[in-house]
């Protein structure tokens, strides 16, 4: 029995829908019964460029949502920004294309056993998996409030249907083109106090995750963050996506963000050591 990647499967999966949403593409991929194994926070690794491509590595994408009862069977939704060669190739694929995917990979967000108050914080396209998470938390009876931020309006991902699962949604842009002007981390401290937040779930750039940690560290608030480090394999064999961590017993390690993440306890990450030698 496998101890690592234990639900992961390599599949030929059909791209059933590819729609442009602002600066992003919403991709729906048919993964059949494997959709039942996907949890919020998990990711997928996809081959890009076809068989003759000079791109030899898979690209990792967070699964934003899964549907287990669509007409074509189980599907997963991905929100992809075409900013590099691999993601651009993926976004240019037509509906009906066959993708080589390895899914599901990585850790998932922990869901509270009690219906506590939670805050979801997303930066840029990193917010995508938070909407699937919000639905799960909502079903658990949690009160879910959400903050989304980006440098400018076109980089905010906030689908209409996603808002149904949240109590409140506030948007922040640094240039003031949408919502309030400022950073998404600005109101967190006040919200944590006012709403008696038990858990913050975050997804976005590392600087944002680190800023949230500086608010929650040493408090009762649990911070579950989905980290971003560049990966070559997504399955734990290349050792490139490591993050410096220290557990509650003081043990220091370079953990792989693909198999020990992407969802990690923010308090365990040594944010000031990221990108530095231990």
């Amino acid at each position: 029995m496998a101890e690592i990647n234990k639900n992961a499967q390599q599949l030929k999966a059909i791209l059933v829908s590819n729609k442009r949403v602002g600066q992003y593409h919403q991709l729906i991929v048919n993964i059949g019964d494997v959709a039942n194994l996907c949890k919020p926070g998990n990711f997928v690794a996809i081959n890009v460029g076809g068989d003759t491509s000079r791109m030899v590595l898979r690209r990792a994408f967070a699964i934003s949502r899964v549907s287990t009862n669509s007409i074509s069977g189980g599907t997963m939704e991905l929100i992809v920004a075409p900013h590099g060669q691999g993601s651009s190739w993926l976004c240019s694929q037509n509906e009906g294309s066959v993708l080589d995917v390895v899914v599901p990979l990585g850790t998932a967000f922990g869901i509270p056993t009690e219906p506590v108050q939670v805050l979801l914080v997303g930066g840029g396209y990193g917010s995508a998996p938070l909407f699937g998470l919000a639905e799960v938390l909502n079903a658990r009876g949690c009160r879910v409030d959400m903050l989304l931020g980006a440098s400018t309006a076109s980089k905010i991902y906030a689908p209409m249907e996603g808002k149904r699962a949240v109590n409140s949604l506030r948007i922040y842009t640094e240039d003031g083109t949408m919502g309030q002007t400022g950073r998404v981390t600005d109101p967190i401290k006040a919200l944590v106090d006012d709403l008696n937040i038990a858990v913050i779930y975050s997804c976005g750039p590392m600087a944002m995750l680190s800023a949230i940690d500086s608010i929650t560290r040493g408090t009762e608030v649990v911070h579950q963050c989905a980290v971003e480090e560049s990966m070559a394999c997504g399955i734990g064999i290349c050792m490139t996506c490591v993050l410096p961590t220290m557990d509650s017993d003081g043990n220091i390690a370079m953990l792989r963000s693909c198999i020990d993440g992407p969802v990690m306890d923010g308090e365990n990450v040594m944010w000031d050591k990221v990108g530095k030698s231990l």
Partner: protein, 315 residues
Amino acid sequence: MSALDFSTTLANAWFPSPVFTASGCASSGRELAQFFDLHSIGGVVTKSVMTKARYGRPTPRMAETPSGMLNSIGLQGPGIDAFIAKDIPYLIEQKARIIVSIAGETVEEYSTLARKLRGVSGISAIEVNISCPNVENRGLVFACDPDASRRVIDGVRRTIGGELPIIAKLSPDVTDLVAIARSVVDAGADAVALINTVLGMVINLDTMRPHLGGKTGGLSGPAIRPIAVRAIYQVHAALPNVPILGMGGVASGRDALEMIAAGASGVSVGTASFGNPNAIPTIQGELRDLLIAKGFTSLRDAIGFAHRTEPSDVE
């Protein structure tokens, strides 16, 4: 179904298939076990282990390049004691054939590692990695110097020589690879592994600085395959009785056969597993089919075939 003897040997170690994982590209097997049975391939070459646990280099550790990638891991690992306590028993439980790769900072460290492994049962061979490019000081790349290479292998041979086959892993980043190969064989290496990654660099044009945390990294993937084929061909021509474990950009059965024809007795698959977790069983199946299609009845008849004067002499 055609009968094909697919087995191979590296010195006195026998393997039912010539396709292996590549050191540093399969950790210690646990991650890939979800995708295929570790017993079903030739063997698992574990990630090079040192005496002490090591954190490795800072991130970024990776840059994709055309048909390849640079890595700068810096031998992150658990240290030999934890490796022997946890990883070897796991691999034995999976019935995997095990080649343990060791790396040291000094000649003595290699001997210490060999001594620790001497009493461990279930190991088929030892790969002595004297060519990792991701070390602080390029002077530590023993495989760049025939005399330093000889001293490392000599120390390991004195410890475990005759008990386990010693495979010396060499770097292609040298002027005279055959001279290095000769010196490790003279010192007691039973086989050589060719090639380690090729030293490279990528500059990040946003920061206008080297992209990798370690500045330089090892280039792997199909981009280096012709270098590997050349290295295998040259060493096999000079030392035809020394078994070679070939690696460097193998991504298909045809790539594996190319290395075998150049003189490799076995082939390791590394970077291809990053792009495809099932690469190793897929390549193994393709190689088997290709050998049968070409009329071979034994893998061993294909080893070094490219050196024959009449290459049409298959039947």
